[in-house]
């Protein structure tokens, strides 16, 4: 009992220490799996991300891990590639009783898809990119309001005199909401939105999209890319044509990946404080694990921040 971390007033501190010491000398350590079998608590959390090698996610995971470590939970990393197949596969996997809880980013699953898992007693905290309500299913959401962030970016640009602002984005994921925010804000400011959507949300996609914008006759004074990788592609396209950044065209990205401050000129972008999000998500999960399993889901908003660098 002592070794499991339990507390009882009936055992004196002295005895307690004797036990701990003896255990250390004998090299004894309780078997996690026997514990898990008996208590049906695995002391393991799954962290699900679309791509661990996408620079956006490791910081999130670090945040999660910093709290799970402190609570003696192990963290299992799970990549889904953001595909429906692999996300469903994760659900099946998680239902095998391998983990006590889940925190993750899901591109294709809907809240109802989690119902069986949650009802089997495994709490889920999702990290989302648009406003959520907190439905009847006991899933907790934590989100950054991407739409508002995109509006903020657009307003920042218009406040600096830009009216011809183009946006480039990829298909899928959170990028749709960002486009909406941009459109709304630009219309409100009296501008005319111009959006180019491409398949890949990568540098190559950004480069191609920028070329389309330049060929369109829209003549933008600023280009807003739905993520940093695309923004970097945009910058490459502009540089190839000898267009000065930000002199002739300003560029803004989204995510604040580590490369954003390393390109030339350093990229103005939006941070989502991903580490903080990870911490917060894990805390919410820990809270569920300790207490109210069945209560309705919550949704809490996290801040974003505009980071001004020299590309604008």
């Amino acid at each position: 009992m002592v070794l499991s971390g339990g507390t009882s007033p009936s055992i004196s501190t002295e005895t307690h220490e004797r036990i701990v010491k003896a255990a250390a000398e004998l090299g004894y350590t309780p078997n996690r799996f026997a514990q898990a079998l008996r208590t049906s608590r695995t002391m393991t959390i799954a962290c699900v991300v679309p791509d661990i090698s996408n620079p956006f996610y490791p910081a999130l995971m670090r945040g999660v891990q910093s709290v799970t470590d402190g609570e003696n939970y192990d963290l299992i990393a799970f990549n889904t590639d953001g595909t429906p197949d692999r996300e469903r596969h994760f659900l099946a996997w998680a239902r095998q009783g391998r983990v006590d809880g889940v925190v993750g980013v899901f591109f294709t699953l809907r809240a109802s898809d989690f119902r069986p898992l949650v009802e089997s007693g495994v709490p889920v905290v999702r990290i989302e990119s648009s406003k959520k309500q907190g439905g009847p299913i006991a899933i907790d959401d934590i989100y950054v309001d991407s739409r508002a962030a995109a509006e903020a970016v657009t307003n920042y640009l218009t406040s600096r005199g830009h009216t011809r602002i183009a946006m480039v984005a990829g298909r899928g994921g959170p990028q749709g909401t960002r486009v909406e925010g941009y459109k709304a804000a630009l219309l409100a400011a009296g501008g005319t939105p111009h959006v180019v959507i491409v398949d890949e949300f990568s540098e190559a996609g950004g480069l191609g999209a920028a070329e389309t914008v330049l060929a369109s006759g829209y003549k933008p004074t600023a280009i807003f890319a739905a993520n940093d990788l695309m923004a970097i592609g945009v910058m490459q396209a502009l540089r190839e044509r000898g267009i000065e950044i930000p002199g002739e065209i300003a560029v803004v990205g989204f995510d604040d990946i580590s490369a954003a401050k390393l390109v030339t000129p350093p990229l103005t972008t939006v941070t989502q404080f991903q580490r903080d999000m990870g911490v917060k998500a894990a805390q919410i999960l820990m809270h569920r694990l300790r207490g109210p399993r069945g209560e309705a889901g919550t949704a809490i908003e996290m801040p974003f921040g505009l980071i001004e660098r020299n590309s604008t």
Copy 2:
């Protein structure tokens, strides 16, 4: 038995399918922890890295995961920050019978530190940055010869006419070997080495080191940084002083992190094919898990590759 993935010629394919189907309908799935308790195989692998948010490691982890996934092992991510404390803590953790095997990068632990773990039946595959021999302890090493890579970089620069090549490096980790290789190759080519060591192996460190080099009167025509982050810092320092890259001073890095090709100009660097290393390491681990637990350790070398971009 069927569900555990066993094989027996005595069961017809038809029966086999009936069982699997029935199990699917009933939603039955064997409990991993009961299995683990009974068989003392946890079906879990630990992947230990100094810093998951350092762009170098996620690709490695992906490689590892691509093979563990295929073998139905879970992957637990473990960050050590490369500190002795946390690396020792990992050892203690691993001895609690939580994982069947370990693959990782260790900065401070020595082969002998792993002996208790390995002798308790948990195979370890280390990823190293200098030539290893394969000692008596049953640890498998897989390494890239950093020294040779640093020599190759230096030779590449001298072959392009550089003789005044400075090197900047951080303390600890694999950077020492890289400095050795540089010195040896430059001396062999008749040059005079000039090394600046700083505490942090980050951009800031690289920036400071570059300033030291420039202030020294060495007047380099090329600067070789022990990793890409430092190289990027060097580039910033040069840019601040209006020194043209590569016209006046060429810059080379090490690691080929994703940012390397995104900076301006794109950075010439050395790749260690980190994903391949992860795959290979995991394969070796799987081999150990299936067979020869006690055999002497092996050490296999992995290739590096010089990636020429526009910074040279």
